[in-house]
Amino acid sequence: MNRLEELFQRKKEKILNVYCTAGFPELDSTLTVMKALQDNGADIIELGMPYSDPLADGPVIQASGTRALQNGMTIEKLFAQLQDCRKEIYIPIILMGYMNPVLQYGFERFCQHAAAIPVDGLILPDLPEHEFETEYGPIIKRYGLDFIFLVTPETSEERIKKLDELSTGFLYAVSSSSTTGKQQDFDAVEKYLQRLQGMNLKNPVLVGFGIKDKQSFETACKHASGAIIGTAYIKNIESAQDIKAGTKAFLQPIIG
C-alpha cells in the first residue's frame, strides 16, 4: 500500500492537498516549503515541475514557474533535491507537470527516478487517455506510481467513469472549467460535486482550482474527500519573508 492509499483509508474527509512550484521562490526552497506544508497540516504535497508553456495553469502559477526556471530549476535538479527527502517528509508527494519536459528527460527514466524517491503519484494534464492507455500508462504502473486524471463540469458522465477507472490514487475534480486561480460560483460548483458524489466512483475525489480560504475549502469538502489549494498558497509564499511562518499563518485558519 502506498502513502496515498494509506491516507485515503485512514482519512475520509477534509483532505488537504497543497500545490507548490519546485524551485520557487528560491531554487533551494523546495524542501523548506515541503517541510512547512507537512508541519502545518497538509495531507498531500503536489509539487509542480516548472514549464515554459503551462496551458492548464493561470497567471500566478505560471509566474511562479517562470521564476523557478529563472532560478535554474530542472527535473534533474528536482530529483537531486528530493533524493533524501523521505528522511523528513512522510506524507504523499505528487509530481505535477507537462509532457514535454518529461519526454525530454525520458519518460521511463522519469518514472524510475520518481519511484526511487519514492514519489507516490503523477499528474500530467496534457497526457491524453488514448496515449496513456496505449503507451505511457503501463510504464507508470510498472514503477508503482499512481496516475491522477482531471474531470470538469463539461466532462460527460460516461467519460468521468472512464477516467475514474483509469485513475489510481484519486480523481482531480476541476471545480469550474477554468485555469487555476479564477473566482468560482460556488452554487454551480456544489451542484457539480453532488453529481460526482452520486456516481459511486472508485476513487476519492479532490477538488481543485479556486480554493483559497476556509470557506471555499469547507464548501468543496462537503461533497468530496478534500481539496487542493494552489494559486492562493503561491501568492502567500511569494510575499512571505519567512516560508515557515507564512505557511503556518496561511494554513492554520483553513484547517483550524
Partner: protein, 406 residues
C-alpha cells in the same frame, strides 16, 4: 469541390489517423478542460465542412469576398534569371493580403454552424488576426485576438487594422510575449469560455483536428494550382512546389493535392534567421526535437530540459518554435525536402522579385523565393512557388534595409 475523405485507422499524408497522427506526429495533447470543445470539433468538422450549404457559402465567399481563384502567374524575368520556368501562385492578391483568409472564412463559417457567438484567435505578425477580424466583421461576430506584447509593438499597423475592424486586441504579457505566448493565452481563454467560443487557430498546428481542418481549408490553393497549370502547361503536375513554412499553413495548402503524386517534389523553406547555428534561428526541422507543444506532438525547438525556446526570424510569421505535425511527418518520411533561408537571403530575394516582376512579397514568402538559388533547377523544370502574402506589412523592414544599403 473536394470529396469527403473519412479518417481511418492508418492515416495518409492527406489525413491523419483517427487519433490525429501523421506517422508519429500529431494527436491531441490537451488538458481535460479543453476536451469537450476539441471533441465537439472532432466529431463535427468533416460533416459540417462537406455539407452542401456550407460548401456553397464557403465557395461563394472565397470567390466574391476573398477574390479567388488567385492567379497563377508565369514570372518570365525571374524564370530567365534562373534559366527555368517559375509560376507564382498569387495568394498575395487575396483580400487582406495573404492566404490566411481562406482558413479564417472556413473556420468562422464552421463556428457559426456550431452555434458559437464569440471568436478568439492568436496572431504573430497580425495577418491571421486581421483575416479573422475581417470575417468576424463580415458576420457580425465578437472577435478577440491575442497578440504578444512585443509583436504588438513591432506590428502596429496590423493592430490598428484589427481594432478598426472591431476586434479587441489583447496583449500576451507572459513568457517571451510573442506568438507562442499569444497562443497560450488564446488556449486559456478557450478553457475559461467552454460553451460560446470558437478558437480559430491560424496554422496547421494545435490539437487534432486543427492541423487537418486548416490543411483542408487551405487546400484550395493546390486545387486551383492543378487546374491552372493544366490550362497553361497541359499537365496538372509541376516538377516542384515551393512554399515557406513557419507553422506551415500555406505550405500545407500548396502541397495538399500533390501529396500523393511522388513525381511532384515538395520543397518547404524554413527561416534560418541569422544562420542555423547562430542561436538566432527558426528552422525547426534542423534545430528541433520531437516534443509536445500547443496540443500536438511534433518537432519543437527546446532546451535539453524540454523548455520551449524563443526562435528568431526577420519574418514574424515564421517566428514560431514548432511546426505542424503534417510537416514533421513530411520531413521525417522524406516526402518533402526542407531547405532554409537566412534573414539576409530573404531580404535580397524580396528586393529581387520586386525589381524583376514588380511584386513586393511578404517577408515570409521571400524565404521561399530565396530557396530558388539552392534548388539547381533545370531549364525543362516547371516550378510553382506559393507567394503566400504581400509585403505592405513589411515596408518598415524593407525601408530599413534600403537605408542600410545606401
Amino acid at each position: 469541390m473536394i470529396n469527403i475523405v473519412t479518417p481511418n485507422n492508418k492515416g495518409t499524408y492527406k489525413q491523419p489517423d483517427i487519433f490525429g497522427y501523421y506517422g508519429s506526429f500529431g494527436g491531441a495533447y490537451i488538458p481535460e478542460m479543453l476536451h469537450s470543445n476539441v471533441e465537439e470539433l472532432k466529431e463535427k468538422y468533416l460533416q459540417i465542412m462537406y455539407e452542401e450549404s456550407f460548401q456553397k457559402e464557403f465557395q461563394h465567399l472565397l470567390h466574391d469576398y476573398a477574390g479567388r481563384p488567385t492567379p497563377l502567374f508565369l514570372a518570365e524575368r525571374l524564370s530567365k534569371q534562373f534559366n527555368t520556368k517559375i509560376y507564382l501562385k498569387r495568394e498575395d492578391l487575396n483580400h487582406t493580403g495573404a492566404h490566411k483568409i481562406n482558413n479564417a472564412i472556413g473556420q468562422v463559417l464552421l463556428a457559426l454552424r456550431l452555434g458559437k457567438k464569440r471568436i478568439i484567435a492568436e496572431t504573430g505578425a497580425g495577418q491571421h488576426g486581421v483575416a479573422t477580424a475581417t470575417v468576424c466583421a463580415l458576420k457580425g461576430l465578437e472577435c478577440i485576438v491575442y497578440m504578444g506584447e512585443v509583436d504588438m509593438e513591432r506590428q502596429q499597423p496590423n493592430v490598428a487594422r484589427m481594432r478598426m475592424l472591431g476586434a479587441t486586441v489583447l496583449p500576451a504579457t507572459s513568457g517571451s510575449k510573442t506568438l507562442k505566448d499569444a497562443t497560450n493565452e488564446a488556449i486559456r481563454d478557450w478553457i475559461n469560455n467552454p460553451n460560446d467560443t470558437h478558437y480559430v487557430i491560424g496554422s496547421v498546428v494545435g490539437p487534432h483536428p486543427y492541423p487537418d481542418m486548416v490543411a483542408r481549408f487551405q487546400s484550395v490553393i493546390s486545387e486551383e494550382m492543378k487546374k491552372q497549370l493544366k490550362e497553361k502547361e497541359g499537365t496538372e503536375l509541376p516538377d516542384y512546389v515551393v512554399a515557406c513554412v513557419g507553422g506551415g499553413s500555406n505550405a500545407a495548402g500548396a502541397f495538399y493535392h500533390f501529396l500523393d503524386d511522388p513525381k511532384v517534389q515538395l520543397v518547404a523553406v524554413e527561416a534560418a534567421g541569422c544562420g542555423i547555428n547562430s542561436g538566432m534561428s527558426a528552422a525547426t526541422t534542423q534545430l528541433g526535437k520531437p516534443g509536445v507543444l500547443h496540443g500536438s506532438k511534433s518537432l519543437v525547438m527546446q532546451t535539453p530540459d524540454g523548455q520551449v525556446v524563443e526562435p528568431h526570424s526577420i519574418s514574424a510569421g515564421l517566428d514560431y518554435p514548432g511546426i505542424g505535425p503534417l510537416h514533421a511527418h513530411l520531413y521525417e518520411s522524406g516526402r518533402a525536402k526542407f531547405l532554409s533561408a537566412t534573414d539576409k537571403e530573404s531580404l535580397d530575394a524580396a528586393f529581387n522579385l520586386t525589381k524583376m516582376e514588380g511584386i513586393i512579397p511578404a517577408l515570409e514568402s521571400a524565404h521561399a523565393l530565396a530557396a530558388l538559388k539552392q534548388m539547381k533547377l533545370k531549364p525543362t523544370d516547371v516550378t510553382i512557388l506559393c507567394l503566400s502574402g504581400r509585403g505592405d506589412k513589411d515596408l518598415a523592414t524593407y525601408m530599413k534595409a534600403m537605408e542600410s544599403n545606401q
